[in-house]
């Protein structure tokens, strides 16, 4: 068997490991093993790559130093990656994932760019065989040209989109407000046309590398303009979508260098990202197009004053503690506010105090609560809250009528009954947690300010709702003290 066949066999093994890894990652018990298998597949693929013909030839010509260089590059990247992963606080997971994702996209852009540069160079080289092959690749509209253009575009959109997502999630002041310039659709349309022209240009004339880099620049701009208008609560969708893009960029890079392990791994990631995107969109009852281009329709805004006037019952920690004392079943509903206030450990203590009194405590997790898919699960797991107590929306909704107290911490739109009752509401039809059906609802919130959707929440004015205005963490601590 030729050495290339061994390499391909190794790639095949890696691809199979990735598929098994994905399968295992969808099961709670097997996920850890899945992650190990994925890493093993990656290690095999990386080792196999070091025996590829171009590397072997360059080692034969230059001695060991190409390998040393690759080792150094791997080491630098590996150490930075490991440091980021270990040092970054768990609460910063969404932005961390966004950032890592962006690096993958950027790497694909560079791979395609490097391959283009070296192929162009080969076309003029002395070895007629290689020159002929390179020239064939560079012919207009070949697989090579098309794939190069697509890699550059998708990779650049991934990288810049991820950076913007990172900035938004990190809540850098400049990125706090969504970009809602009315002209943005025109800007996007202009960029889209430029993109199409440049793709055509790269495909028709691949040896002109400048066009490729222009395409990358336009793709970068597009990555920014597509992500900037997206508001905080839509972030889970964006993270999934960017994740999918980074996979597709890797797959496209696989077409460029004619490597099936890139294509397989890339498309697996692309598929999983798309599925998660669909799940997130469904959880918000919104179309993907709506998330990407619409922003939320804020035309039918009802003023909060009419709804809230005279009906808000603001209470103290002691009063809530009295209600909690008689409760047999309490459901805690966490939202992004919990993550901001870092109140997960305080919540755990409150739950402990309640459980000591013989009360059942469960957690209701809305699929899009937080800023990334499954954000609340990670956050509560960090505080050692057993995952059996974290219940998904469809699972826990029927139990609210039997719930004595529902405590809503830092969540707003996902518990807004207007989604169910008011067909004109911008969030009409969005599946929500039916906390309003609980006997008593306690809402811990800093003020009456609306959530991401910018609409008032009739829940706050409901007869069975008690409002507790305070910072999430302090509020929960006071509550726990009042209870003890």
């Amino acid at each position: 068997m030729s050495s290339q066949a061994w390499i391909n066999l190794a790639y095949l093994t890696a691809s199979m490991l990735f598929i098994v890894a994905f399968k295992l990652m969808t099961g709670p018990r097997t996920a850890v093993k899945g992650n190990y298998l994925g890493a093993a597949g990656m290690a095999i693929a990386i080792l196999a790559a070091c025996f590829e013909k171009p590397i072997v030839q360059s080692v034969a010509a230059n001695g060991a130093w190409p390998l040393v260089m690759l080792g150094v590059a791997c080491l630098i990247g590996g150490v930075i990656g490991a440091m980021m992963a270990i040092r970054y606080p768990m609460t910063g997971m969404p932005q961390m994932v966004a950032l890592l994702n962006g690096f993958g996209g950027a790497a694909s852009v560079l791979v395609a760019g490097a391959e283009l540069a070296s192929t162009c160079n080969l076309a003029f080289c002395n070895d007629p065989g290689k020159a002929a092959m390179a020239t064939t690749s560079l012919a207009p509209w070949t697989q090579f040209a098309i794939a190069t253009a697509l890699t550059g575009l998708i990779g650049a959109v991934t990288f810049w989109g991820s950076l913007v997502a990172f900035a938004k999630l990190e809540e850098l002041p400049r990125f706090k407000k969504a970009w809602t310039d009315p002209n943005r659709h025109w800007i996007n349309a202009g960029l889209a046309i430029a993109t199409l022209l440049l793709i055509w240009g790269v495909c028709a004339n691949p040896s002109w590398t400048l066009l490729y880099w222009l395409l990358v620049i336009v793709g970068s701009a597009l990555g920014c303009t597509l992500t900037l208008p997206i508001g905080g609560a839509d972030m889970p969708v964006v993270i999934c979508l960017l994740n999918s893009y980074s996979g597709l960029a890797a797959a496209a890079a696989g077409f460029v260098i004619d490597n099936s392990v890139l294509v397989i791994a890339g498309s697996l990631v692309g598929a999983s990202g798309l599925i998660l995107t669909a799940i997130m969109c469904k959880a918000m009852n919104r179309s993907l197009v709506g998330v990407l281009f619409g922003g939320l329709g804020t035309t039918a805004v009802v003023s909060g004053d009419d709804i809230y006037a005279g009906k808000i019952k603001s209470v103290s920690a002691e009063e809530i503690a009295m209600v909690l004392e008689g409760a047999e079943r309490v459901v805690i509903v966490p939202g992004y506010g919990l993550a901001v206030a870092q109140a997960q450990h305080a919540v755990r203590e409150l739950a402990n105090a309640l459980e000591k009194r013989g009360c059942t405590v469960e957690y209701a997790i809305h699929p899009v609560a937080g800023r990334m898919p499954g954000h609340m699960n990670v956050l509560l797991a960090e505080a050692d809250i057993p995952y059996e107590k974290l219940r998904e929306m469809d699972d826990i909704n029927p139990t609210f009528p039997e719930t004595d107290v529902a405590i809503v911490i830092g969540a707003n739109d996902v518990v807004n009954p207007a989604a169910r009752t008011d067909p004109k509401s911008p969030i009409a039809g969005m599946p929500i947690l039916d906390v309003d059906k609980a006997k008593t609802v306690v809402v811990v919130k800093r003020s009456l300010s609306p959530g991401f959707a910018g609409i008032p929440n009739p829940l706050f004015a409901a007869d069975n709702t008690l409002m507790y205005f305070a910072d999430g963490k302090k509020a929960i601590l006071d509550l726990t003290n009042a209870l003890q």
């Binding site: 996920a31 994925g38 997971m93 694909s108």
Partner: protein
Amino acid sequence: MPHMTHLVLPQLFADAVAVEDPASRFIRLLTVFLLAMWVGFEVITKVPQRLHTPLTSGSNAISGITVVGALVVAGALSTGVSTLLGFLAVVLAMINVVGGFVVTHRMLEMFNPKKK
């Protein structure tokens, strides 16, 4: 010249094998792409909500597979530009790969109460 034929013919044959017609090469990779997409959709149909974040970050690590391409273009030392770009690509892709797997592991450990 029997000697020449002996040398040239296998060479020609080898070239003919190496230079696959671009269209069929494209179709071959497209086949792989579509089948792998299909497998991906089938494997990840129902994911419990709890695993959404680890799945996102784990798949994110796997998208760093582009490191394979980066290693090959960087190690080939074909031109200065391609080597430099390849080197950077290896660094970035490795950040993605190692960071992704480690962070996923950290998260999954948190979900595992026995280990604590």
